[in-house]
Structure formats: C-alpha cells, structure tokens
Assembly symmetry: C2
Homo-oligomer: 162 residues x 2
C-alpha cells in the first residue's frame, strides 16, 4: 500500500468512496444525498490536505487533515478517513491513521481531535484507542443511526508529542 | 432589549462587534485578523440563522443558530454569541441564550451543543451551566490563550425537551 497526497486525477475515485460511505449514513454526519460537487469542495477545502491510499494500483481509501479550529485553536489537527467497503479489515484505516499522525507532527500540530466518532462504529473507536486516542467527551444521542436510532457520539483526542 | 432576526442593514454593527470580540483572541478560536468579508460570510453562512439584540435602539449583541452537523447529526443545534464589551454583565448573553433555546425548540432541534467553550471564559461557562448545559467533554490544552497559554476547552450540551 502507498499513501500519497491526492491529485486532481483522483477526484473520481474519491467521490466514489465518499458517496459509498455517506450513502450508508451510519458513520458520518453528512447528508447522504450530498452532491459530487459539494463533497469534493468539502474534501478538498481551503486549508485541508487530502491524501489517498493505493493498493495494487487502485485507490482504496482517502483521508483529510486540517486544523480543527482557527486562531487560538489551530494547533489541534482534525482528520477524517474513508475506506472502500471491499478493502475494510485489511489495515487501511490503521495505515492512514498512522500516516495522518506523522503528517500532523511534521506540520507542527500539538494534538489531534476527532469531533464525531459514532459510538456504534466500534471498529473505528477501537482503532483510535489503539492509536492512543482517548474518549474525552460523550455527546448523548447526537447521531441518528439508520437502524439503531439515536446513539451517542464520542469526541476523541490525543497529544502528538512522543 | 429586543432580539430579532438580523437584516442586511445590521452588517456594519455586527462586524464591529465581531471584530472587537475576535481581536481580543481570548474566547473564540477564530483568526483575530479575519477580514470583514470572511467574518460576515461565516456569521451569515448557508444554513445559519443570524440574530441581533438591540438595547435603546443600538445593537449590543448578536448570535447565530445552525445545525451542528449535517445528515444524522442535524437534530443537534449549535449557537455562537457575541456581546459588545460595554454591554457585558447586563444579562445580554443570558437573554440571547434563552432566545436561542426557544428558537432551537421552535425549529425542531432535540439538543444544543457548544463545541468550544474556553475554560477560562468563566462567565460563559457559568451562564451555560445556569441554562442547564452540562460539560460533556474536556479538550486538554485545545486553546492558546493570549495571556494564559494553553488552556482546556469544554464541550457543552443539553437536551431541549421540557
């Protein structure tokens, strides 16, 4: 697997992954009917760095890295990750997560925060805990899961030193 | 005091308040050098409702109300408040806070979340607690205060029923 900065030529592959992930509506608080244009404007937003993960010449995942806030909050990074369903359970999320932590350190961030980890997304919660993120907040019923109804959401955080 | 939806004619007054609040750099994670254009684009953003508080014919405060997330997170409201320094300690924040809770209920939101309450902003923390918000998360060192250095930030949350 190779992880690299996304290029304009990757936009079709990214939209395919993005659309598949948000259409499932079980992990991201994004309108499942978001348009290609809006989705790519978000994923390639100002101040956002966009990456893709390739395996055997095919893009199987993508992630973004950006400051979570501006001004006095800009030393904390935020990241978001998406993996194609067929490539899940193969360490793609972990590889991108580790890559994002290294990139965040390289860029001088002091910490990383995930604002919205849906509690029922157990593989994500476990992965981030294994990468030394802690649950620093619980938002009660903040996500409406398509099958499970209102479920809690975690705010996860870790420092980047060391 | 009167609280009402903001109109285009209020933009100058809003920018004056906004600029004064973010230039102090001690409560909002917004670049203190943000331009008028960027500030008003944020405060009057798509999906955002903007209000002003008038006292004796003068605009002394402004707040915004919007969904905190899209899709499966859109039942939780978010709000942000600004009061001119000369009018602080006179109940303006409380009046706008109560107004925002009523508006959020009227619009069908189930809860309200503040993502970034700087812990050293004690009057805000106390006010939101008095309005039945709870600290549901603590972001360690997530705000760089101009005098106090890195300080914690609270995520605050309350349901809107009742």
């Amino acid at each position: 697997m190779n992880i690299r900065a996304a290029a304009a030529a990757d936009r079709d592959a990214i939209w395919k992954i993005f659309h598949e992930v948000v259409a499932a509506a079980d992990t991201y608080a994004i309108d499942p009917k978001i348009s290609r244009e809006e989705a790519l404007a978000y994923w390639f937003g100002a101040g956002t760095r966009t990456y893709v993960a390739e395996s055997q010449g095919r893009i199987v995942g993508t992630y973004i890295l950006r400051p979570n806030q501006s001004g006095g909050g800009s030393h904390v990074a935020n990241a978001g990750f998406m993996v194609v369903p067929e490539a899940r359970g193969q360490g793609m999320g972990r590889a991108m997560g580790e890559h994002s932590l290294n990139e965040a350190r390289r860029l001088g961030f002091r910490a990383m925060q995930f604002n919205f980890v849906v509690s029922t997304n157990q593989s994500a919660v476990r992965l981030w805990q294994e990468l030394n993120f802690e649950i620093v907040g619980t938002l009660p019923g903040a996500f409406r899961h398509p099958e499970k109804g209102y479920v809690d959401v975690y705010v996860m955080y870790r420092f980047l030193s060391g």
